[in-house]
């Protein structure tokens, strides 16, 4: 009992000592996640539209892009961008390289989420819009996407959670994110279990907060008749 209390106090003291380092790592992790999610959205949505509405070559290219990215490990993509692109004269810093790799990887998954949501919308919605005189692009922008983006929010929030965890692969190219800081702290303190314990705790707390924020966001956007995750 007494022994346990000592252990607890030591563990907390250890946390106070390493927190400044973990905090710096956490900020980098969140920057990586945000950058990658935005990039993934910016590439993923057009890819989804190209694969859904595109014709001929455009559709084929979008499909190939999505399948190739989804079909290869993220580490391979990261290494190609960081170690491979310099061969073609493109030299990226660690951070941009990591954001690019994570963003491209995420874009393929986001594209499929968007495509699924678009396809789930009843055909009649598009017919009614066209019958009013809307062009194809007006229909997509005003009718299809506002509904698809609401439908996609629950699976998309999963992507946010995955992304924050996936950023840990960036430590393989020495981006000083949360996991990399943890690794550094282990070699400095020789306390792997305690360090990894606190790294894990930080991930859990941050992800719970993010999940909560996404939930509030979903509630704000909720419209009667749209099945949101919490109603399932």
């Amino acid at each position: 009992m007494y022994q346990g209390l000592i252990c607890m106090i030591e563990l907390i003291q250890f946390f106070i000592k390493i927190w400044p380092e973990l905090y710096k790592g956490l900020i980098v992790s969140l920057q990586l996640s945000a950058g990658a999610l935005v990039l993934g959205f910016a590439i993923g949505l057009p890819m989804a539209l190209a694969r859904t509405y595109g014709k001929g070559l455009l559709r084929t290219l979008a499909t190939a892009y999505i399948e190739i990215i989804r079909g290869t490990p993220m580490i391979v993509q990261l290494f190609i961008i960081y170690y491979g692109l310099p061969d073609f004269g493109i030299l990226l810093d660690r951070m941009p390289a990591a954001i690019l790799a994570l963003g491209i990887n995420s874009s393929a998954y986001q594209a499929e989420y968007f495509r699924g949501a678009i396809l789930s919308i009843d055909e009649g919605q598009g017919l009614a819009a066209q019958a009013l005189g809307m062009t194809k692009s007006q229909t997509i922008v005003n009718i299809i996407l506002p509904q698809a983006l609401r439908i996609v929010l629950p699976p998309w929030s999963n992507e946010v959670v995955y992304m924050v965890k996936y950023t840990s692969v960036a430590f393989l190219i020495a981006v000083p994110e949360l996991m990399a800081r943890g690794k550094m702290l282990i070699t400095q303190t020789f306390k792997p279990i305690e360090t990894l314990f606190w790294v894990g705790v930080v991930y859990i707390i941050v992800l719970s907060i993010i999940a909560k924020i996404v939930d509030i966001f979903e509630r704000k956007l909720a419209i009667p008749g749209f099945q949101m995750s919490r109603e399932d």
């Binding site: 019958a131 005189g133 009667p224």
Partner: protein, 260 residues
């Protein structure tokens, strides 16, 4: 009142190997209400959708007023603005309120000022008796209310002709009356209407002409008294007696509503 608004000439449409429309010709004059009846699968919906080119016909010509509707030549968006369409399953935009559903056409398609469009939308909702539901989402409306909003949405574009594709078929019997009432009012106000419907009460009261379509051809057409009471073709007689038996009950109910 004899200026033709819509002229369909020898329309053909095939889906794979099935010929759905085998040369349909029909003219609808200004202010006229034409009701199309016929067994299911005889191309009634296809005919309506060919008119505003939601479906591309294989052959035949369609004129709206004096203008020939030709894909690639005429601006389909412009043509569709002049043709209102009401669908069997309403197809209200699920992410928009009733008011926004009605206003979005004028705003996005006609580039109308947003405030003016919302005001217009409110007037259209009043016209179908749903001003109090302006801020409700489709999921919060009954089927009859949804269909009335859908009618208001089409009317907000100020169309020259309204197409109704079985507007009451997806409704519970007790909700049919309110939709037919709105349609009847529209007809009385002089709207040109082409209606696919088996509501005999409505057809009897509001239609100027009944068209009996079967197997992709017009079997017979004429004023409601003649088609319902004294059709020339034996097939027409059989079909009329069949829907009279099936819809007899609903017809009485809606008929009573219409007399109020």
């Amino acid at each position: 009142m004899s200026k033709p608004i819509l002229r369909i000439d020898n329309l053909h449409k095939k889906f794979k190997d099935t010929e759905v429309l085998k040369g349909v010709s029909l003219t609808v004059d200004e202010g006229e209400v034409v009701v199309i009846i016929g067994p299911s699968g005889t191309g009634k919906s296809t005919l309506l959708r060919c008119i505003n080119r939601l479906i591309e016909p294989d052959a035949g010509e369609i004129y709206l007023g004096d203008e020939k509707i030709e894909p690639g030549v005429s601006n389909l968006s412009k043509v569709r603005q002049r043709i209102g369409m009401v669908f069997q399953d309403f197809n209200l935009f699920n992410h928009l309120t009733a008011l926004q559903n009605v206003a979005i056409g004028p705003i996005k398609v006609k580039k109308m000022d947003k405030k003016a469009a919302l005001k217009l939308a409110m007037q259209e909702l009043e016209r179908v008796g749903l001003a109090d539901k302006a801020n409700s989402y489709p999921a919060e409306l009954s089927g009859g209310q949804k269909q009335r909003v859908a009618i208001a949405r089409a009317l907000a574009m100020d169309p020259e002709i309204m197409l109704f594709d079985e507007p009451t078929s997806a409704l519970d019997p007790e909700l049919i009356g309110e939709v037919l009432e709105v349609m009847k009012k529209l007809a009385d106000a002089g709207m040109t209407m082409l209606v696919v419907s088996h509501e005999m009460g409505f057809a009897r009261e509001a239609a100027d002409r009944i068209v009996f379509l079967e197997d992709g051809v017009i079997v017979e057409m004429g004023p409601p008294e003649k088609i319902f009471n004294n059709p020339e073709k034996e097939r027409t007689r059989e079909f009329i007696s069949k829907i009279a038996r099936l819809h007899g009950k609903a017809q009485d109910v809606s008929g009573a509503d219409l007399h109020d």
